[in-house]
Amino acid sequence: MKTTLIMSTALAGIAFGASAQEVNVVSWGGAYEASQVEAYNKPFAEETGIKVNMIAADNPATPLRAQVEAGNVTGDVFDVEVSDAIRLCDEGALVEIDPDMLPAAPDGTAAADDFVDGALLDCAVANIVWGTVISYNTTKFTDNAPTSAVDFFDTETFPGKRGLPKNPKRTLYLALIADGVPAAEVYDVLGTDEGVQRAFDKLDTIKDDVVWWEAGAQPVQLLADGEVSMTTAYNGRIFDAMVGEGQPFEVIWDGQYMDLDMFVIPVDAPNPEAAMEYLKFATDTQRLADQAQYISYGPARKSSAELVGMYKDGKTEMAPHMPTSPENLESAVLDDPEFWADHAAELSERFNSWLASS
């Protein structure tokens, strides 16, 4: 690594932007990473001659934090969740990104106005919007299909096990939605002790029927095996199984939880210029739209929406599968990183205590 570093620095000194440059991008692996390789990395390498090394991590924030702590940063661009981006930015681990540096939309709208709310932070730029959605196995409900978050908690009418992620962030909101809290008020309610209690009380009603998952691939497998009849899952994974593999799954967009994924650049990144080039390139209107060909995550720019077309199979319209489609947004809960920065530890303890008690 050190040799590479010295080499690249030396070469950069001789001829800036020469083909020997490279950039190390740490992302999440799987179908998501593949979509980034297709939509960002290949055209980027072609256009700039900068080689992109893709590195997979379970959660890129973990190696990022470790590398910063160790004072030996090897990645240039990291794809992280919003809460991590904010936290790492506050801790001074990230390079600030001026929105004016980012390319404007094709119609001339400035980047600052083109990105969806919350997509531009001091040190981070969002690339996609992804949803955690309810999905069910259609073979389990042949005559009467569930349609809402309320049905998810109704094991009488819709029998079978439920899949939920083993963390408070993506479970408590769903309980509140199912208990009748409007999406916009979820965090207000969750900010009070009574609200938290209300969420746990609702979860109690299905606790015995829940199979808890941790990794994104698990709920899809559980649903396919028939181990659960209904589960929440990342919408891209479900889409992949539904359209890509033809599994008999259906998505309920009611009670969707929306997250952003963000690109960040650590301070002391080995190739800062190339990293910034990559970040600008990858978050322009066309690249974000292109990525939607490969995975059903919504582009973080408004101007990309109209460019989103067909899935790579050439016959599936992507728009209805996007978390950002207007009809899918009706009861969507947008992630609130500030709330979770304050309450993640506390609610995790509460959640684990609740899990462990019988």
């Binding site: 808890w212 181990e227 462990a356």
Partner: protein, 433 residues
Amino acid sequence: MANTALDPHAAITTTASGVATQPLTTADGKPLVRALARSQSRARRKAFLLVLPLLAFIVITFVVPIGQMLQRSFHNDGFSANMPNISAWFAQTERGTQPDDAAWQALAADLQASAEARNIGVVGTRVNYDMPGTRSLFTSTGRKVRKGIEPPYRETLLEIDEEWADPQLWATMREVSTPYTANFYLASVDRTRDADGNIQQVDENQRVYLMLFWRTFWLSGLITALTFVLGFPIAHLLATLPMRKSNLLMILVLLPFWTSLLVRTTSWMVLLQQQGVINDILVWLGVIGGGQRLQMIYNQAGTIIAMTHILLPFMILPLYSVMRTINPSYVRAARSLGATSWTAFRRIYFPQTLPGLGAGAMLVFILAVGYYITPALVGGSSGQLISNMIAQHMTSTLNWSMAAALAALLLGAVLVLYWLYDRLVGVDNLKLG
């Protein structure tokens, strides 16, 4: 010996003791002791140089990181290092002192400087550990005062957020204004400090660690017992079968070692889940009805089954190596002396396997206490262990101090058990292979 008088060595000893008052010297007159030390020191130096790489390796990769990790459990300067003025004010004043103008000024100056230096998040995180819900107070205030803050400081800060007046917040800031703290250990045993600094239990619905510690040790004990029950007959079979057959069996025993965790986990799922092979067979046999399928994975049972499977070889191998050295004639002797086969086993064979059993139980128990991947994958909610909490604090909440405190307690508990084992059985009786 009867022939001591004739023993030539004895003769020399007698002569030597006769002149023992003078120090012995070598042929050229140097003191013998020093010559001996010199001749041995070279060998010793060489031996030391040979183990030096290993020593360095262990120190660098094991002792130093663990030491650093443990240090985090009682040392966290996230607040004190970045908020020097207010920390100094806390140091000069008594607990319970109302914040005066100097305090507000110090706080404002620190907030501004910290926000400018981009480490206000670290400060907020540190306070948030002890008082949840305060991180955003620091970061949002920081964003507003980054460019500068004007007096009157108290009013300005209260205008930004009224929470700055909260006495609990000031008590917490006082608490975290020194880098050394026992609060992470308190939190690890479900204890916290109230505004007056008294230690009390946390709310009932926040209590989780003590219960998980208890569950970890109880499940580890159970898994150790299960590996013993399952592993003992196999080890005995391995030790008594002819070499060729026992080699084949040994491969079967070791197979789990050579299989990737993912493959193993997947096969457990295929076997154990409610729509899985075992349930299918039971339903097909009519043992259970289609609606009563057993829950054998994603719960405590899953953790027990999977960990017993993984850890079985660690019980079998030491047992096997000890059993192989037990001569079959002991049991025969016992039988010929009138013992039934059960008595012979209980009184003669079993006691001789104890060193292997001790080693195996120790290995399995200590490994089980630290396991977290398996419980995370197949444990559901009721099969989680304390190490899953440590992992969560390491990777998810990023509260490494808390992770370190939990790990230190776990390490301490294991050391206590080891000490107990040494007192009761004696570590010399361990036989690892």
